[in-house]
Symmetry: C2
Subunit: 218 residues, 2 copies
């Protein structure tokens, strides 16, 4: 029955944690990760600084939680796209929508690394979920075009496929998944960082062109 009934204390606690994270996301979007201030969040919530440490042990712990949620959201987005039968183009556009929704969230996952920082294990396992969904989509896509220029590397991949876990992907699919990752990240992160602003061309079209070349096996 009420085996999963949460105590009022826990209800309140998780509510406050959610409030804190909501403010943290807002600050992150406005000022970036370096501008995230626990003190400021506490004041916004009407409580005084150190109270926040009841909910998150440190600033790093809060940021790690945000990173975890970002990975989780991206994994869900990829999984939903893969399960709904989206092809490579569909997955690419789902990725771009997710990224444009909150660029700083994207950079939390794929942005500048902090030299000392190591993500906890459960985050790397979410990263594997993302890769698995990507492999699913690539495997279901059109039979791969040859791509002779990187035939050697594809052969290399067939002997170094531990990162794909137990996914039954052909070497060509592995190659395609890596190409998806590197190319989509390349065009997307430059766009999100604003390196294309003022250049005059249509950024939607650039992305679509990259997707088209990728999907056509080129």
């Amino acid at each position: 029955m009420a085996a999963d009934a949460v105590s009022p204390r826990e209800r309140y606690r998780s509510q406050v944690r959610a409030d804190i994270k909501a403010r943290a996301w807002a600050q992150l979007a406005k000022s970036g990760a370096s501008g995230l201030s626990l003190n400021a969040i506490a004041k916004e919530l009407g409580m005084s600084g150190p109270a926040l440490y009841r909910y998150f042990g440190s600033r790093d712990e809060l940021i790690t939680e945000l990173i975890r949620d970002a990975y989780r959201g991206l994994a869900d987005t990829f999984r939903a796209a893969a399960d709904s039968g989206a092809g490579i183009e569909g997955l690419a556009h789902a990725l771009r929508r997710w990224a444009l929704e909150d660029p700083q969230r994207y950079f939390l996952v794929y942005g500048t690394p902090v030299p000392g920082y190591h993500a906890p294990d459960d985050i790397t396992s979410i990263a594997q979920e993302i890769m698995a969904a990507l492999l699913d989509v690539c495997a279901a896509a059109e039979p791969e075009a040859p791509a002779p220029a990187s035939a050697g590397f594809t052969a290399h991949l067939s002997q170094h496929r531990r990162w794909a876990g137990d996914h039954p992907a052909t070497p060509g699919v592995l190659r395609r998944a890596l190409a998806f990752w590197t190319r989509m990240h390349g065009v997307l992160s430059l766009e999100l960082a604003g390196h294309f602003t003022g250049m005059g061309f249509d950024q939607d079209r650039l992305f679509d062109a990259e997707v088209a070349e990728l999907a056509s096996g080129r």
Copy 2:
């Protein structure tokens, strides 16, 4: 005669500025931009905190100077490669060498943007130098392969080429330069951020494969 003789004061001043920047680069490589501390640098140089403000007006000013130097170094690297007749492969490997030399320096240019920050004009003009060198190399490369998948975008580029300045590049060259930028950045920044570590494959080979596909017009 001694019209360009610098006074001992100026000599000393620029020497101290250089010392400060050297320490700043070291801190940056070790702890990233967020871990850069003016106080720590001052103590390392044997002077007390506020003395440093004689040389740099603020922390932001110092970081902007580092960003400027990073852009300058990348522009020089590109220019040298272009002038020595390097092809697309040569330029790509020059870029990768420069990036691996100091990953945080690369991320200073192409990493996570800080929402409020706008680079001063002289930095964006260095960015145009970089683009010009890239266009030179792409223009001198093999006659462009068709790349039919993005023919529409190439046509779009031919009408939005203000960003190329007065460079006499064909639309195909413009397209190729953009592809170089997005793809090389994609694979490089993932490598530098450590997203490939532990995946098992050879990162040199992945980069070479991406370069090969790019250079073959695919």
